[in-house]
């Protein structure tokens, strides 16, 4: 028993309807018309065949009517599964076939709903069919599940989408296959619901918005039509557009506020949360549903601030124009005014005006409903600058919806992109847009930021498909971060990061190892994504390579040494310097936060951290804990893609003492950290927040000799443009090390010694003509003027 009977009358009618089809219907209608007209003409001519032709015409009308009203879409009347199956299913499935889950999939595979689900889940239909059971006994479970899915979505019909969803949900083998595509059954449900919403939109009847006489008792609005746009009229002309929001809490709150007698609403929410969409959804709601007297048949007109300001030529024009617009709205009696970006009406400036004095009497008189859309920051500014006006507004705060609801809105927006650009946007891409915009688009709210990111991903479509990779590519391009999985080349680079760093770093193996491991953990997605990639405190004497290691990381992994963000913390010793760190760019264009905002994927080097003011160290606690800081304008800046390295010379003498006593770093690491805390140089809560505290030991003479060789490589690179190279004998290197080695300053004096010894010598040889292009110079100890 299949659970459905494909020999039932309804199934046979559906197949007959398919056979006749639209061409058959049109053929029947045309023939009927020809017979009826021809018959009538012959009857008029008193011809003997006239009546017969009329009779045939009537007979032909009957099957045409039958196809039009029943066969083209056999009505569902509930009951058993055969009565509930959609026409598509009844046509696609063949009688006499013993259906199994795999055969059912095969039977429905060509249907557009199957294509919708497989394309949006980005799965291979053939692979799914292969994973499905060929056991007829399993079919009952699938069909039961399909009916349950249909019931849950309040659908009387059991459609192709429901059956395909049931097939994907009930097979354990398919479940395993889906997990390989990073999909779960809840994702399958979400795509099924997405399909359901598209089907519902297609079935939606035209709304009744009041008919021809609706506005005859309301005034004309010629000026408002000129300086604003009638949102309600647009909805009437272009159909339903804000279905998901029409019954949202935000729209209900606005309606409730107006019903309770408020004259003006402050619609508050961050950019991207959908303030404009909510106002438009209110317009649709008011048009489509019976309202109380305050809102009945009201139309929303959105005023265009820039058009109003640019129309004002002389002083006083602006006030006159706005007053006339408001009067027109009051007089018309059926208008609600919507002030999008309301801050443009509250503050005089280029392209904006301070209209609060003109608006205040209207708001107080409650003569026309007004909606002012603004961000929380703008609302606070309005309250601070004009409390008398702000106090008259009823705040309606839009809050971000839970993830599932937000994904629904983003998916519906994706449908619009798909229609406009003839592309497919996979559900994985929608989830990625949600996830990555949440991480990187901190200035905007959901769902706007996810939709915005999806829009940016359009240019990264591959074969007209937007995948998770397209969204990652978009965020990598716009933010300069690494969001996607590591490519083989990058993975290889990560696995051999230590070697790459040691090409420019001598020893300090432990320090290099912990940093490289942190980068590998972050890139593999193993580390906590809500903190910086890595945070390290490098401790050790001057000139042992702390800063050099930070530069090496920037150069090898972040591909740009110059892009390293470096702050000398000795310049931040005053309590007021906190504001310099947190500046939003107005006072300090290169504040730490502005640099990280511009370049989130970077190495942040905080040199000589112990010299910073304690208030700044407290900021560092938040940065390391939460991976973000908030600027002076209230916008958060993410450090989640940065490696934070703080360096300090604190306890350098102690490290040197331990090393000279023959101890290894690992042996005194813990004792040294305790020493730093006990001496009050660092607070324990700060030290605890670093991923690693790395001790750098002083370099031995052998290591200093290697440093000299590295530096010589740099000199040779410079000389390569003149085709001259220079080499040092071991004796020369030993001499430079002897001169440049200062236990207090590490390798730092080495550069000066090398400059004096090698660069000066070569420069003189070039000027004297003793070194020409193609020459290879070998310098011995005696050749060096040190």
């Amino acid at each position: 028993m299949n659970g459905f009977n494909l020999d039932a009358a309804r199934a046979r009618k559906a197949r007959l309807g398919k056979v006749i089809g639209n061409p058959g219907y049109l053929g029947l209608l045309t023939s009927a018309a020809v017979f009826l007209l021809g018959g009538a003409w012959l009857v008029a001519m008193e011809h003997k065949y006239g009546y017969s032709l009329l009779g045939i015409g009537i007979l032909l009308t009957m099957p045409a009517a039958w196809w039009r009203f029943e066969l083209s879409d056999t009505p569902v009347r509930g009951g058993d599964l055969t009565d509930r199956l959609s026409n598509d299913c009844l046509i696609a499935l063949k009688p006499g076939v013993t259906y199994t889950p795999a055969r059912l999939w095969q039977g429905l595979q060509r249907n557009w709903q199957t294509n919708f689900i497989t394309a949006h889940l980005f799965i291979d239909a053939g692979a799914i069919q292969g994973a499905l059971s060929d056991d007829p006994a399993q079919l009952g479970i699938v069909l039961q599940e399909a009916q349950r899915i249909a019931d849950n979505s309040s659908s009387i019909t059991v459609g192709v989408g429901h059956i395909i969803t049931a097939l994907l949900r009930t097979s354990p083998a398919v479940g395993q296959l889906l997990s390989q595509f990073k999909l779960s059954t809840s994702d399958v449900d979400a795509v099924s619901a997405w399909l359901g919403r598209i089907l519902d939109t297609g079935k939606q009847k035209t709304d009744n918005f009041g008919g021809i006489g609706r506005d005859w008792a309301s005034g004309f609005t010629p000026r408002l039509n000129q300086f604003g746009h009638n949102v309600s009229a647009n909805i009437e002309r272009h159909g339903v557009r804000f279905r998901a929001l029409v019954d949202s809490p935000g729209v209900h709150d606005m309606k409730a506020a107006f019903s309770q007698g408020t004259g003006a609403i402050a619609l508050i929410g961050p950019d991207g949360i959908g303030k404009t969409s909510h106002a438009y959804a209110l317009a649709q709601n008011v048009l489509a549903e019976a309202q109380d007297r305050m809102l009945e048949h009201r139309q929303i007109i959105a005023l265009d601030a820039s058009a109003i300001v640019s129309a004002a030529q002389r002083p006083g024009d602006l006030e006159y124009l706005l007053t006339s617009l408001l009067n027109e709205a009051v007089h018309a009696g059926n208008i609600m005014l919507f002030f999008d970006d309301a801050e443009l009406f509250f503050q005089a400036g280029p392209g904006s005006m301070n209209a609060t004095q003109i608006l205040l009497p209207i708001v107080q008189a409650r003569s026309v409903p007004l909606i002012f859309a603004m961000t929380p920051h703008d609302y606070e500014q309005l309250r601070a600058s004009n409390m008398a006006f702000a106090g008259q507004l009823t705040p309606v705060v839009l809050k971000e919806q839970p993830e599932a609801e937000t994904l629904t809105v983003v998916a519906d927006a994706a449908t619009n992109f798909e229609t406009q650009h003839h592309i497919v946007i996979t559900y994985q891409a929608i989830k990625a847009a949600y996830r990555l915009s949440g991480r990187y688009e901190t200035d905007m709210g959901y769902p706007g930021k996810a939709i915005h990111l999806l829009e940016q991903s359009l240019t990264h479509a591959v074969n007209q498909v937007i995948t998770e990779g397209s969204v990652e590519a978009a965020i990598e391009q716009t933010r300069g971060v690494k969001a996607g999985a590591a490519a083989p080349v990058e993975a290889d680079q990560l696995l051999h990061l230590e070697d790459a760093i040691h090409e420019r770093m001598i020893n300090q193996k432990r320090a290099v190892e912990v940093v490289a491991s942190a980068l590998r953990r972050a890139r593999a997605g193993v580390s906590n994504p809500n903190r910086p990639i890595g945070s390290f405190l490098f401790l050790g004497p001057t000139g042992v390579g702390k800063t050099e290691l930070a530069k090496a990381i920037a150069a090898t992994y972040f591909s740009n040494e110059a892009g390293m963000i470096r702050l000398d913390m000795s310049e931040y010793q005053q309590p007021t310097d906190v504001a310099r760190i947190l500046s939003d760019g107005k006072e300090e264009a290169n504040s730490l936060l502005m640099q990280v905002r511009r370049q989130p994927f970077s190495v942040v080097l905080l040199d000589e951290i112990e010299k910073a003011h304690p208030n700044i160290l407290n900021l560092l606690l938040q940065l390391l804990d939460e991976g973000q800081l908030t600027d002076t304008n209230g916008r958060s800046v993410s450090f989640k893609d940065a490696v934070v390295i703080a360096t300090s010379n604190a306890g350098a003498d102690s490290i040197r003492g331990h090393i000279e006593a023959g101890e290894q770093l690992e042996q005194f690491e813990q004792a040294f950290t305790d020493e730093l805390i006990n001496s009050g140089q660092f607070k324990p809560e700060l030290l605890n927040r670093f991923d690693e505290i790395v001790l750098f030991r002083p370099l031995t003479p052998d290591e200093l000799a290697q440093v000299v060789r590295l530096m010589l490589g740099g000199i040779n690179q410079t000389l390569a443009t003149q085709n001259i190279s220079v080499e040092l004998t071991e004796a020369a290197i030993a001499k430079i090390v002897a001169v440049g080695n200062d236990p207090r300053l590490g390798a730092r004096p080495m550069r000066r010694a090398l400059q004096k010894a090698v660069e000066n010598t070569v420069a003189e040889k070039i000027l004297r003509g003793e070194a020409k292009p193609g020459d290879h110079l070998t310098l011995d100890a005696a050749d060096l003027p040190i």
Binding site: G50, S52, I58, M62, W66, G211, I212, W216, H331
Partner: protein, 120 residues
């Protein structure tokens, strides 16, 4: 197939004519805004009104002007309502004819064909 066709014709098809007439009547009533027009029958036309001044003359003039606006409004609305009434009656008649003629159509067709053939 023929049995199915006649089954539908005298069952769901015939009942469908009643439903479709009802739907068409509701749609027509909505298109003519009948409820709104009845409620605003005496309202001024498009709110073209004069606000009364201070003196008795001004008040009388405003009253007169507004009376004219209301008369215009009333006239337009009453004509639309009349047009709506005529359309509704017409549509109802068509619906009634459809309802009555529907079951007779097959018989009529058979009779017409027979009449033509018998005349041969």
């Amino acid at each position: 197939m023929l049995f199915s066709l006649f089954g539908w014709w005298y069952g769901a098809g015939w009942a469908g004519t009643v439903r479709s007439t009802r739907r068409r009547l509701a749609s027509l009533a909505s298109m003519f805004s009948i409820a709104i027009l009845l409620r605003t029958l005496f309202s001024p036309w498009r709110r073209i009104i004069t606000y009364p001044g201070a003196g008795i003359d001004a008040k009388l003039r405003a009253f007169g002007d507004n009376l004219v606006s209301r008369c215009v409004g009333f006239t337009v609305r009453i004509f639309v309502l009349l047009a709506a009434a005529v359309s509704l009656v017409f549509l109802s008649l068509i619906g009634l004819i459809e309802l009555l003629a529907w079951p007779l159509a097959p018989i009529l067709a058979a009779m017409l064909i027979a009449k033509g053939l018998l005349a041969l």
